[in-house]
């Protein structure tokens, strides 16, 4: 199964990366097994988003920067409003990084 490393930059991914970093640094884990854990995280996170999440979101804002490189879209929005069923959030500046979903289904 193909996966993205995209989600490693999320909170949960960063926490895992830090944990693995510490454990590799103090010799508890070998680097290769740490990488295997990260790869498994890529898979588990992708599956969880597909299967366990139902929420829908709409985003509006001023597009400050757009970029499409290596099949990754990057948007930087200003004064963006995020709405979902429960809440609405406004941020002055937000970055959106999106990989091509078709790459996973191929």
């Amino acid at each position: 199964m193909a996966t993205f490393e995209l989600y490693r930059r999320s909170t949960i991914g960063m926490c895992l990366t830090e944990t693995l970093d510490e454990m590799v640094s103090n010799g508890t884990l070998s680097p290769e097994i740490a990488i295997q854990v990260l790869v498994q995280f890529d898979k588990s996170m992708t599956e969880a988003l597909e299967n366990q999440v139902k929420s829908k979101v709409s985003v509006k804002g001023h597009l400050h920067t757009y970029r499409f490189c290596d099949n990754v879209w990057t948007f930087i929005l200003q004064d963006a409003v995020f709405k979902n069923e429960e809440c609405q959030e406004t941020v002055g500046r937000v970055k959106i990084v999106a990989c091509d979903s078709k790459l996973l289904t191929q």
Binding site: E5, E18, P31, Q52, N84, E89
Partner: protein, 338 residues
Amino acid sequence: MAATTTTSAVYINVIEDVINKVREEFLQSGVDEGVLSQLQALWEHKMMECGAICGPIERSSLPKQPGPGGSAITPVHDLNVPYEGPEEYETPTADMLFPPTPLQTPIQTPLPGTSEHSMYHLPTPSDYPTPQDSGGVPEVKPGRPSPYMQPPSPWMNQRPLGVDVNVAYVEGREEGDRGASRQPTTQDFFVVPSGKRKREDLPPQVPGSGYIPQQDGAGDATYDVFQSELYPYQGVASEDYNTVNTPAGHELHAGTPAVVAPNEAGDDDDDEPPLNENDDDDLDDVEGEEPNTQHLVLAQFDKVTRTKSRWKCTLKDGIMHINSKDILFTKATGEFDF
């Protein structure tokens, strides 16, 4: 600070899923199962610290529980209990770090006291092979775990060999392996996430005497200079490198600076800093200076369209980190004006 309950539940499921699915590989590699518990405990602890998980984690399934049933169990959260901040987890107990489990008793699990100490003690810099400041310093932070988009640690680029991680990272040692070390099943979009390159991202140095003189145009190397560049550490040659604006015959230095050691390359080469050190655009700098205001959405796109200055996109399977909250979505629509 608080995550939504659903986000927290999904995160807990993901943690359990990962732990359950790597157990087999841990055992095959001869890694003690206690290490796996330690990994899970530390991971969960960090998540609670930054508020991404609302504790307490109710383990109806013991973390050890293997097999297909293990990952399917969804922890139940009592929504009527007010959320209590992460403070109560600031000092982890041995129970938290090493949840009591039936299986692991006789194995050489590290003593709770000692390893707790070592895990939460600020290590000396020499414990870390990482050259970056931000890379993986595990100090306990109250807020977010760390700035986003820190560069990957060196060990992530290492080929899976028996590497002694206690040895200080030697710059350039692993450079040659870099290409082969990518995980073949994944797409690596984030090798240089911040746009700011570190030294280690400089192109691989040509090992040993593998220098190839440039012979393709105005900057061709003559034989003399070629010889001196072969032995850059000998007296005469280094004089050449430190002499700026030496006339006649030395403009060929502009040709191939790659063979010199990185700091020497900095001195040489027409006062130009190494590639990419200072050529970030302002936007990236702004983001780097304010990691706490960093709002980020990570997702997959289905479609992106534009009509004049009106952009529309449909995203799916995303993680948003906005106003210190983590929100997950399965679909998102965006409408932006440029």
